[in-house]
């Protein structure tokens, strides 16, 4: 199947639905498009495709349509849809599977700020073994080149003692870093059986950066 868009044609990849079902642990084919997820989604104003359209596009194998959509990054993971889905599908799991696919392929252009947030969080935790809010905010502001955003909020939080100036390590921080690397480095399940790590980086048209250090999302 091909999707005819205004400026391009998107070819469907028939195995995409199996792949996403496998890595998300949710059977996407089960979706019968009732729209209950869309009906209750609190983030829908921010989305280009509705949650039900994301499910439909995954069923139709329209990988390029979903992975380049803004919706997959907007999902707040609130689980409202999952709690209500009559087919018992957890859409948040599907959305996370799609963002990690997009992440690995470096396709973050539809929501670079959100991708930068994910990346900054991972970087912080890789080093300290736990979150360090001030450091993570710093990384995020550098990545998004928006140094003054949220400064007032930061002052408020600081005044109430919610932000620590000094980062704290945990004992097994090296262990946490190893775990994160392991996850990021492991070859993703792929339909062709070819190691996807290299191919995806080529797809993204970027120099492969070491995992855990940004894949070019902060332009």
């Amino acid at each position: 199947m091909r999707l005819l868009e205004k400026d391009k044609t998107i070819e469907s990849e028939p195995d995409f639905v199996e792949h996403i079902s496998e890595i998300s642990g949710e059977d996407v084919r089960q979706c019968y498009q009732c729209g209950k997820c869309l009906a209750g989604c609190p983030m829908v104003e921010e989305m280009d495709l509705t949650p039900s359209q994301v499910m439909r596009a995954v069923q139709a194998g329209l990988k390029d349509l979903v992975l380049d959509s803004h919706t997959i990054w907007c999902c707040a993971g609130c689980e409202t849809c999952a709690a209500r889905c009559p087919k018992g599908i957890d859409l948040c799991h599907v959305m996370k599977a799609l963002t990690s696919e997009a992440f690995a392929e470096g396709r973050t252009q539809s929501a670079p700020d959100i991708a930068a947030f994910h990346r900054s969080f991972l970087d912080t935790v890789s080093v300290l073994g736990r979150n360090y809010e001030l450091g993570m905010m710093g990384l995020l502001k550098l990545r998004t080149r928006n140094l003054l955003q949220d400064v007032a909020l930061g002052m408020k939080l600081f005044a109430r003692g919610k932000l620590n100036l000094i980062p704290e390590y945990i004992k097994g921080n090296a262990e946490v870093r190893r775990m994160i690397r392991q996850v990021l480095d492991q070859p993703r399940p792929d339909r062709t059986g070819v190691s996807p790590v290299t191919t995806t980086h080529e797809d993204a048209g970027e120099t492969p950066a070491p995992p855990g250090h940004g894949a070019g999302e902060a332009r």
Binding site: M1, L3, L4, Q33, L49, Q53, R56, A60
Partner: protein, 665 residues
């Protein structure tokens, strides 16, 4: 002086909240000839009916008016009530003060006035009513079932099992109908032949069933319990009793390329043919349009091959008449041939087929021996062809399209398309199957679960939207459609496209309906007496309906409706005699001028022309005569008769005018 009783019903508060019932009763009591009048909360209840019966006895009433609801609801109730008290049931009239008064008016005093008017006019009529008696009609304890599909087979078997003789008339060479063409049945995937053919054999072996295949009903005369059915036994050119179905004849037939009706024209048949191996009777028929001997007078290959000398080229159509008490019409439906949408181009590309053609292709006894192939690549000699890798199903190819096709949903396509998708994926696991649909209608036991299974387990790709066009591109078909859930145009390269075409009323059923005087709807489907409460009956007593001639139906529904029609027939024919309805037309032959206006206007063909002889002058003249068995008492003839000699019993001019006089004078 008449002694009329008037009984005013409150119907709880239905009538009483708008109409002052005690006052209506009081005023009615003052009318001339009214000997007793009262009101009561529920006149139709046990105590209410007792009240009427008691009053008839105590006050020696000779006629009764019940002022309550519509006679459509309770006329039989109150007729039984007065009959039980010793009155003729036709000396009871109803004044409808519910539907015609309390339900449609608000002003209490005006409504009460109107109720009193209606009571007054009913009293005037009932005092002129004549007692009418129902006549006993004889019953012929035999039945005809028209159509040997699954509905007709079920009806015939059920009637025969009740000990009643049945004549099963089938137009084609074998019984079995549409179901015999199917491979598997949804949603259980039972093999259609495995559940159908035992029933076909049962029909052939049941001593109470006379099977007339290759026969058509020519004429139906008479009325309930007493029909005379004329059946045309078409020339078969093969001796049904002697033939053993050995197959020597069709093996030798030189005409081998006639498109087979049984295989939905996907495969060939010979000129002398048996539609399918499990045919009942297992006897071939000669297609006289294509037989060389019958068209050109030479050949005779089949006659030479036949070891039992069963072939008779001189065979002629034969008309037989049968007396029966009831008929069941189970003539089934037609399947549209894919031509509704020119933009799909059916007929221009062999890889574009209908659902029925795919059904035959899937079947192991079908034209490809059960191989799923692209028809464009099929080599009949080698029995091989290329398997399709991408198959597109298009639902609603004319159904739910009031502009170009039919407005209704054909009901079975969602399910059979899902079944096809499943069977294809079983045979070709690597093929991609796409199904364009508008809505999936899977209302039935296990149906929705079946759709789920096809979508999830068998990975059919359901695409919501219609297809705009199908364009040949290279050696495949480019299907352009919409995915309305994404709001976008889509394209699919297909090797095989299957159309779910609508189920239609049979084109020849209109003619049959005219012969039997039963009704058809705007699509040509036969009309039930009541769509909900009398679904197996027609408005003509003694004629019943079953199966897909009423509307598209699946197998369970057809079987159920065959059983329902059979139950009605058995009920009717198990009576010793029938009671006629006495509200029928009466024609005074002394006054009749023989203009026959009534014959022309009668919607039930109940009036015929007869010749009578004057007993004194021996002069012969033509007059109109009513067949009371057919007359429905509509009164059209009474209104049309220029000499006033046609009158409707129970509604004579005198009675109706008395009613009007009280209202108008």
């Amino acid at each position: 002086m008449p002694r009329t009783g008037v009984f005013v019903c409150h119907c709880g508060t239905n009538i009483a909240k708008v109409v002052d019932c005690p006052r209506v009763a009081e005023e009615a009591g003052k009318l001339p000839g009214v000997a007793f009048a009262t009101d009561y909360t529920y006149m139709c209840s046990g105590p209410g009916q007792d009240l009427i019966a008691q009053a008839i006895q105590e006050h020696n009433l000779d006629s009764v008016v019940v002022a309550s609801c519509s006679p459509r609801l309770h006329e039989p109730t109150f007729q039984r009530c007065v009959e039980g008290a010793g009155l003729n049931p036709y000396l009871m009239e109803m004044a409808n003060i519910r539907e015609q008064v309390s339900w449609v008016h608000e002003d209490k005093s005006e409504a009460t006035e109107k109720a009193m008017d209606l009571v007054r006019s009913a009293v005037a009529k009932v005092q002129r009513n004549q007692p009418l008696t129902r006549k006993e009609l004889p019953v012929t304890k035999r039945a005809v079932v028209i159509g040997g599909g699954i509905a007709g087979i079920q009806a015939a078997l059920d009637i025969a099992d009740a000990g009643i003789e049945v004549i099963l008339v089938e137009k084609s060479p074998s019984i079995g109908g549409r179901m015999s063409q199917f491979d598997k049945t949804f949603p259980t995937l039972d093999c259609a032949a495995c559940i159908l053919t035992p029933k076909m054999v049962e029909v052939a072996s049941n001593p109470n069933i006379r099977l007339l295949t290759w026969s058509e009903v020519e004429k139906v005369d008479g009325f309930v319990g007493n029909f005379e059915v004329t059946i045309r036994k078409k020339a078969r050119y093969v001796d049904v009793d002697a033939c053993v179905g050995c197959g020597e004849c069709w093996a030798k037939c030189p005409v081998k390329t006639i498109p087979s009706e049984y295989d939905a024209e996907l495969g060939p048949r010979t000129a002398i043919y048996r539609p399918f191996p499990q045919a009942v009777p297992n006897v071939p028929v000669i297609d006289k349009e294509h037989c060389i001997y019958l068209t050109k007078g030479r050949c005779g290959a089949c006659a030479k091959a036949c070891p039992k000398q069963c072939i008779n080229y001189e065979d002629q159509d034969e008309l037989i008449t049968e007396q029966v008490g009831a008929l069941v019409v189970a003539t089934g439906f037609d399947v549209e041939g894919g031509k509704i949408y020119g933009e799909y181009g059916y007929g221009e590309h062999p890889d574009l087929i209908t659902g029925l053609q795919l059904e035959r292709m899937i079947n192991v006894s079908g034209p490809t021996g059960g191989h799923i192939v692209r028809p464009s690549t099929w080599d009949a000699k080698k029995q091989e062809g290329e398997e399709p890798r991408s198959i597109v199903f298009i639902q609603c190819c004319g159904s739910r399209d009031p502009e170009k096709g039919v407005a209704y949903c054909s009901k079975v396509c969602c399910m059979y398309t899902a079944k096809h998708a499943l069977l294809l994926k079983e045979k070709l696991p690597n093929a991609q199957v796409y199904i364009f649909y508008i809505d999936i209608r899977a209302g039935g036991k296990g149906y929705e679960e079946f759709i789920d299974r096809v979508r999830d387990e068998f990975q059919a790709n359901y695409v919501r939207g219609r297809v705009s066009e199908i364009v040949p591109e290279g050696d495949h078909l480019l299907v352009r459609g919409a995915d309305t859930l994404l709001g976008r145009q889509v394209e699919i390269d297909a090797d095989l496209v299957v159309l779910a075409t609508p189920l239609l009323a049979r084109t020849d059923v209109k003619e049959l309906a005219r012969k039997m005087n039963i009704q058809t709807d705007k699509y040509g489907f036969l009309t039930e007496a009541h769509p909900k409460l009398r679904p197996a009956e027609t408005l003509t007593d003694g004629i019943f309906l079953a199966g897909g001639c009423i509307f598209p139906r699946d197998i369970p529904e057809s079987v159920a409706s065959g059983g329902a029609a059979a139950a009605k027939v058995v009920d009717l024919l198990s009576r010793d005699h029938l009671l006629s309805e006495p509200v029928v037309s009466m024609i005074d032959v002394d006054l009749c001028q023989g203009c026959l206006t009534c014959v022309r206007v009668c919607p039930f063909n109940a009036i015929e022309e007869v010749e009578i002889e004057d007993p004194k002058t021996h002069e012969k003249r033509k007059v109109a005569q009513v067949n009371e068995g057919l007359c429905k008492g509509c009164g059209t003839c009474a209104a049309a008769c220029p000499s006033g000699c046609a009158n409707l019993a129970g509604f004579t001019d005198e009675e109706v005018l008395a009613e009007l006089d009280t209202l108008c004078l």
